[in-house]
Symmetry: C2
Subunit: 394 residues, 2 copies
């Protein structure tokens, strides 16, 4: 590799230069502070862990997306975190062991072996919040409202909220008598929205006609509130848990609408894309009219079971770097004060005073190239009548 391209970054691996880094730092603080006022406590999860701890769900996708490393101390396989939910589940189940509901938030880079998301990144800056220890609509509503507040805080408007329930589809497949293999294939086709292949596969499963019709209808059951009644009609003869789950989602939507009447709600009982360990209500935020999710979450009860403690849980996550790209909020560039190269102790004192007041003061270095302008300073320190004074740059 020649020196000319040693600066190349791998595809989907990004760095943040000063302007973007300042934006991310600013909103990191605003968002974590907001989460804190809602009772969500920050945790910092490890960058790497043993694979057994990271890959606790049924998702092959997470396994494929995880970079693998060998621990030279033990020879065991480790992975770079591709997601933080299993890590937070471990903290809830094993480290804190609280009885009462527990709220966590986190912010950090995760790595994926392959690019994904609207920016085709392999290193999203994952921001998330999770609520452990409560089953029911209250906690899902809280987490959805916190997700919507997060988007609002960075200035994103015209939000469309997708609501669904992973349990509806999985329960129907079981009731229809499909085996595990068939269920997996059908789910994969639905996730890819490959509907002709889905229909073809379903026909080949030789189900009773009624179940075939129900599963076909479901792939198409999406829309606004009016759709809920037709869904209940189509599914009226199925196991009662299915109707209960539809009612749960309906209740969820009503409660969210009370708090955020300005958002659009869309229902989709066959949307499974991107949900790795969720097993209850699921939700995702879009910008109206645009294709890619900007945040998503859902309920993943019992995720802590492998760590010795099963608790209900719900949460959401998003990529803060993706939000930085679509947020209409820009930060003002900092304009500093340029201090001349002079070892006068009074100057040093003045500089330290200004810095303590939050001013950026840049000291001239002897013989340096560049003046106040090229150092992004709109003011200079100047000595007048034995006093160091801040003046506008000429």
């Amino acid at each position: 590799m020649s020196s000319e391209d040693r600066w190349l970054l791998p595809e989907g691996i990004e760095e943040s230069l000063p302007d973007e880094a300042a934006w991310l730092e600013h909103y990191r603080r605003s968002l974590l502070d907001m989460f804190s006022t809602w009772g969500y406590e920050l945790v910092i999860t490890p960058l790497i862990e043993y694979l057994d701890s990271l890959l606790i769900g049924p998702s092959d996708d997470l396994d494929l997306q995880t970079f693998k490393l060998t621990d030279q101390l033990t020879g065991r396989m480790m992975g770079v975190r591709a997601d933080m939910t299993s890590q937070v589940a471990r903290i809830d189940a094993h480290m804190l062991k609280r009885e009462a509901p527990t709220r966590f938030c986190y912010l950090g880079t995760v790595l994926h072996t392959r690019p994904s998301g609207r920016d085709l990144t392999r290193s999203p800056l994952q921001l998330g919040a999770e609520l452990y220890g409560h089953a029911g609509v209250d906690s899902d509503v809280e987490v959805i409202c916190l997700m919507l507040e997060t988007l609002k805080l960075v200035g994103i408007e015209n939000i469309c909220l997708d609501l669904g329930h992973v349990g509806i589809y999985t329960s129907l497949m079981r009731q229809a008598g499909l085996n595990a293999e068939q269920q997996k294939s059908l789910q994969a086709l639905l996730q890819q929205r490959a509907l002709p292949e889905y229909e073809q596969f379903l026909s080949a499963c030789s189900l009773e006609e009624e179940w075939q019709e129900i599963l076909m209808a479901l792939s198409d059951l999406s829309g606004n509130e009016g759709m809920l009644d037709s869904a209940k009609k189509v599914l009226q003869n199925t196991n009662s848990s299915v109707i209960e789950n539809i009612n749960y989602v309906e209740e969820l939507s009503k409660r969210v609408m009370q708090r955020s009447p300005e958002i659009q709600i869309h229902f989709d009982f066959a949307a499974l894309s991107g949900y790795r360990y969720q097993n209850g209500a699921v939700f995702a935020a879009y910008i109206s009219g645009q294709g890619e999710q900007i945040a998503r979450g859902g309920r993943y009860d019992a995720i802590g079971e492998v760590f010795g403690r099963s608790r209900p849980a719900t949460g959401f996550s998003l990529d803060l770097k993706a939000l930085a790209k679509i947020s209409p909020h820009a930060l003002q560039a900092i304009q500093g004060i340029f201090a001349p190269n002079d070892d006068d102790p009074q100057l040093h004192e003045k500089i330290m005073q200004l810095r303590a007041q939050g001013e950026r003061v840049i000291c001239e270095l002897s013989g340096q190239s560049g003046d106040a302008l090229s150092m992004q300073c709109n003011r200079i320190l100047n000595k007048e009548k034995q006093q160091w004074i801040v003046k506008e740059r000429k």
Copy 2:
């Protein structure tokens, strides 16, 4: 692996639970804000890069400490950052290309294949500052003073500053006629402070007696200011650059003492431990009487050359998690307000008001276990005469 130990973290890989995470977040902000007032701009470097970009120095140590990964998209070798200096050098040389001096800071986790440092960690939270584009005492003084301010800000006192110059030792070995292989072996022995082996190896090199004496004397040349004169005496007949480098370090110490008269300064011209790419003045901070470095840095001119642009550079770095362990500053726990489960719109409004004022308000979830006390709330919201009022918890 049984479910009982799936929660085990690999040796030297840590997580931060809420108390420690809050401390780290608090001082992250104070420190980055302080760096900003000195003109240091935050950059966020990638977690992984191609190995060619990460391993640009002569250090085998950095190579051994770097976790390796294969990029599935290209088949090329990547590494997890074990240090951020080469990444910042790439940003200075290739991305920003400013002519004037440029100041950067960074804060993020790096990974090492083997434990090191006072806490035997493999995942330090590296905080650092770097100044590109200026050669000379001014920039070294600025960086050292910023390092001392950093330690002061987290409450660490009794700081001892070690000063040295990598150029002195490497120049003497060259003048003595040692070949590259011999130089490397001797440096390694000095780094380990294996002095008997060092002496033995030196004797076997069959040098002129004068050089043998000089190199033996050097391994022992450390002490306070008084040592500088004896060093100059021992080295008076060597290449003039050696005396110039000693004078440079002397000047550095005087300038730092002017700013921070309270610290102890110690000189060591054979201390090479932990310096990976430095080639000029080097410095390290200790707590007086304790063995392990808590911060270190130095000058690494021309580091950007492999990225197509050679500039002088100086900087320092430290592990913020290690400082968290020794800092005397603790944060007060946040005491929240517990809000009852009630869908009164007035309550919701009151909650949002309190949160906007920075209060932590935790909403009761229907049927939850745990009361205000177990939710770390010292106050509750109570309805009196149609008004929601914050009251002390009984």
